[in-house]
């Protein structure tokens, strides 16, 4: 069985590592320059106006005194604030560089403070410790803070940046979303996860990711009613396959208990998945998954307490959903960033989040007020889009192309209660006929999650 690709250990993971350098020294003696940077935590999810303080200690583990320059670079929403403290003083935000001489064996305390204010979102403070004696020892750590409030938390568990397409797709679908880079920001506690109605854990193939601590936090999140989508090529196999260097004998039980999933083996040359008939998430969908290079070696899954919902082209199970009394989970044997084109990614994630968040029942019937359909579909030149509202409300109905661009606004304003029908003539807002292809109707009603419907304009 071929083993999957493995990525190198990111520098941030080695933040507590000790690095040494040998320096010129008098004959018969070697001066050793080294320091250890101990960091308790690298990320937090907080409410607005709550300051997170990340405690770190820089220990001169060498044999000579060294001077450390500690510098701070902020990447924050404009109203947020980040500062540093040492053992005796806290410095204002405009002081971003501090310098200390530390004797061998001594410890330098540095606290990094980050406060989200006024606007929700994510921010990072990047701290670099530079050794004056041995610049090769320089180390950088990123500290991350997210605010509670967005509907969806995407935990990028793969390589940095790999999950950004997932975030973009969720956002394009009309949901608020924020990204947590697991490699950079570290672990999340169950309480932190609990700030988000839905969590997408996306990516695999990294050491120390989805380890026992991560799994315990996710299990607690799901047990508390959380909605979890876990996706990634080799996500399951990497931990369950006995030949994997990251094999964890405890993992198979976790996948079964929390995600209703078992690992079967790697999927060979799987480039496409399709929704199983009658599935509330993906029935009728056929989607390519070979985008962004994230799905070189997907996992074939099996339901173990859950229900298969997606299949690879050969009919092997690619996705399993599980519904318990208060929670819903969805496990995919491939990464969500692989959905290609972007419109399909948005389409699938929209449907998946609709189901996870309870907007679509397990039997596939849209909840009251959310029923969205079109007839004919495929169509040319005209289709009628229908939906229902529970009561008088406000909303909009728009059409997007698969690149996420809004091409036509069909309605934006007040709506009465009951059945609504709106025609679309296959033209954009300027009256130009649109080329044949797939489009997405996007219905947004006040106070409700958005609903989407795939429309096919025939040539």
């Amino acid at each position: 069985m071929p083993r999957r690709r493995r990525m190198s250990i990111p520098a941030a993971v080695a933040a507590a590592a000790t690095v040494t350098a040998l320096l010129g020294a008098p004959p018969g003696a070697l001066a050793l320059t080294s320091f250890a940077w101990e960091i308790a935590d690298r990320g937090a999810v907080t409410a607005l106006d709550v300051t997170s303080t990340f405690h770190t200690e820089i220990i001169n583990t060498g044999t000579v005194s060294d001077t450390y320059t500690v510098s701070l670079v902020a990447d924050l929403p404009t109203t947020w604030l980040t500062t540093m403290c040492d053992v005796s003083l806290c410095y204002p935000p405009f002081i971003t560089t501090l310098q200390y001489t530390v004797a061998p064996g001594d410890t330098l305390y540095i606290g990094v403070n980050l406060t989200p204010m006024l606007e929700m979102g994510a921010g990072t403070s990047t701290v670099t410790v530079a050794s004056l004696v041995a610049p090769a020892l320089d180390r950088t750590t990123v500290f991350t803070v997210l605010t509670a409030g967005p509907q969806v938390l995407v935990v990028g568990a793969g390589a940095t940046g790999q999950a950004q397409p997932v975030v973009d797709a969720v956002t394009a679908g009309g949901r608020t979303c924020v990204l947590w880079d697991r490699q950079v920001a570290g672990r999340l506690a169950a309480a932190e996860l609990g700030n988000f109605p839905a969590v997408i854990w996306d990516g695999a193939d990294e050491p120390d990711v989805l380890d026992a601590i991560d799994r315990a936090a996710l299990a607690a999140y799901v047990a508390g009613g959380g909605r979890l989508l876990a996706a990634g090529a080799d996500l399951v196999g990497g931990l369950v396959d006995p030949s994997s260097p990251f094999h964890d004998p405890e993992a198979a039980g976790w996948f079964a208990t929390v995600l209703g999933t078992a690992w079967v083996g790697p999927a060979a040359a799987a480039t496409e998945v399709s929704g199983l008939p009658g599935d509330p998430i993906a029935a009728g969908l056929v989607l390519a998954i070979d985008g962004n290079g994230v799905n070189a070696a997907p996992d074939v899954l099996a339901a173990q307490g859950g229900v298969p919902c997606l299949a690879f082209a050969g009919g092997q199970t690619a996705g399993v959903r599980r519904q318990a009394a208060d929670s819903r989970t969805l496990c995919l044997g491939f990464g969500c960033a692989g959905f290609d084109p972007a419109g399909d990614r948005e389409l699938f994630l929209g449907a998946a989040l609709d189901w996870l968040l309870g907007n679509v029942t397990a039997t596939g019937v849209p909840a009251a007020g959310r029923r969205l359909s079109a007839a004919p579909n495929p169509f040319n030149p005209r289709t009628r889009i229908s939906f229902e509202t529970r009561s008088r409300t406000a909303g909009s109905l728009a059409v997007f192309d698969l690149r996420g661009r809004r091409v036509r606004t069909l309605f934006d304003g007040a709506l009465g209660a009951g059945a609504i029908e709106i025609d679309w003539d296959g033209r954009d807002d300027n009256g130009r006929p649109l080329p044949g292809g797939t489009y997405v109707a996007h219905l947004a009603l006040a106070g409700e999650p958005a609903a989407k419907l795939k429309l096919t304009l025939a040539q």
Binding site: T51, L81, T83, S88, L89, C90, Y91, P93, N113, T115
Partner: protein, 436 residues
């Protein structure tokens, strides 16, 4: 006026050891001698005992019958009394007779081996007892130094009116002198309520903290401890705590008045919290209480030549009327200075820490200040400059607020003088000159 009536003589006599006990309480001498001898032996234990010959001390008084105290211990003898076998070193002799007072209170005498010395005390029933806060002030009667320091009895005064005053370095006597009627056979009392010592300089400690600053609670606790120390009364040192907006930009004390808190920390260009400014100068070690105390005490020696007194009616309503009086003790030019008037909340107990540094009880938290501190000019001796302003009390309860005022030189930010409504008795120019 001098009342040094001590008349004692001493003379050398041939070497002798007289253990007899003259006087009415002869039997008591033996134990005294034994104690002296035992103490001497004990002192020499473990080393070679010094060889000396004891001295003899006679203590007399007019009138006689006073109890004799040697080195703080009652000898059990009454004057006139002779103590033989006394160790030839320095001794402190005092007598005590009910309703009589000696002048001086006690005498220090250096005895040589084999020496016979006499100490004679004149006792009086007419005089003046003077106390002060702080103690240690020299007592002047009729403008003459009596040689006594408070608390003390100035004995031997003649009946009649005497003008009493106190002098103590870095302190001012208010009023400048006090007329006291001394009656025959009585000891008149002059208390701290009659003659008050007012510091010539009140030092201002300004602190800058934040509820998320890990070391700020220590700095705040130090200020409470320092200003609570012996000798640090409200007219000696006062402190005022401002809030910076880092690490927590949502510090509740900062947010209660962000403009004026920020104005103050920007005024000093504060670049680290906690920070303590002593009379406008950054204290190097804000976490070391002794350092802050020494810094403050070191500034008392500089007399700015004027006083600041504050009267505030915090019960008047949300708007607090404040009268600040600048009393020049000499001509003083305050051009280039401003008068800063502020209100602080004495103690705030939030029940739970509002930040992550664990501090939930806060002291002397800045709440409001006069929006535009008035500029000052030249002051002439004896002509006070009175300013009437108002402050916003906000939610501060009347009993939990204090108004401070201080004069700060704009050019170098040095605080020249400060005062607060916590001072018990304002010192007006009229009161300063008063002679009661």
């Amino acid at each position: 006026m001098s009342h040094r009536l001590l008349d004692w003589t001493r003379s050398r006599v041939p070497r002798q050891l007289d253990l007899r006990a003259p006087g009415r309480r002869a039997p008591a001498l033996a134990p005294v001698s034994a104690i002296v001898a035992l103490a001497t032996l004990a002192a020499g234990c473990g080393r070679v005992a010094p060889h000396y010959e004891p001295a003899t001390l006679t203590v007399t008084s007019t009138p006689p019958g006073a109890a004799v105290h040697l080195d703080g211990r009652d000898t059990g003898l009454l004057t006139p009394a002779t103590l033989a076998g006394v160790t030839p070193v320095r001794h402190l002799v005092r007598v005590d007779l009910a309703e009589w007072h000696a002048d001086p209170d006690s005498v220090a005498i250096d005895l040589s081996p084999l020496e016979t010395a006499t100490v004679d005390f004149q006792l009086f029933q007419t005089g003046l007892r003077v106390t002060s806060e702080p103690a240690g002030a020299r007592i002047l009667v009729g403008g003459d130094d009596t040689g006594k320091v408070t608390p003390a009895v100035v004995a031997g005064l003649s009946p009649g009116t005497h003008h009493v005053s106190l002098t103590l370095d870095t302190w001012l006597c208010v009023p400048a002198s006090l007329a006291v009627e001394v009656e025959e056979g009585l000891i008149a009392e002059v208390t701290t309520a009659d003659l008050r010592l007012r510091s010539r300089r009140t030092v201002l400690l300004e602190s800058f903290g934040n509820v998320n600053c890990p070391t700020c609670p220590q700095a705040a606790a130090n200020l409470v401890a320092v200003t609570g120390r012996e000798g640090f009364g409200p007219d000696r040192a006062l402190f005022l705590e401002f809030s910076v907006n880092w690490p927590s930009p949502v510090d509740p004390f900062y947010l209660a008045n962000p403009t004026e808190n920020a104005d103050r920390f920007m005024h000093y260009f504060v670049v680290g919290a906690p920070a303590i400014y002593v009379n406008g100068r950054l204290q190097t070690y804000p976490l070391v209480a002794d350092s802050t105390a020494a810094d403050a005490a070191g500034r008392w020696a500089t007399d700015p030549g004027f006083l600041v007194d504050v009267e505030a009616d915090l019960a008047a309503g949300a708007s607090v009327p404040v009268t600040v009086t600048l009393t020049p003790l000499a001509d003083v030019d305050l051009t280039g200075c401003v008068l800063y008037v502020a209100l602080y909340e004495n103690e705030v107990d939030l029940g739970a820490p509002p930040g992550n540094n664990g501090q939930s009880v806060f002291h002397h938290m800045f709440r409001d200040r006069v929006d535009v501190p008035p500029a000052l000019g030249a002051l002439s001796a004896g002509q006070p400059d009175v300013r009437v302003v108002s402050l916003n009390r906000g939610t501060v309860s009347p009993g939990n607020g204090t108004v401070v005022a201080f004069v700060q030189r704009a050019a170098d930010r040095v605080v020249l003088q400060a005062g607060s409504s916590a001072c018990p008795v304002p010192v007006t120019a009229a009161r300063l000159a008063e002679d009661r």
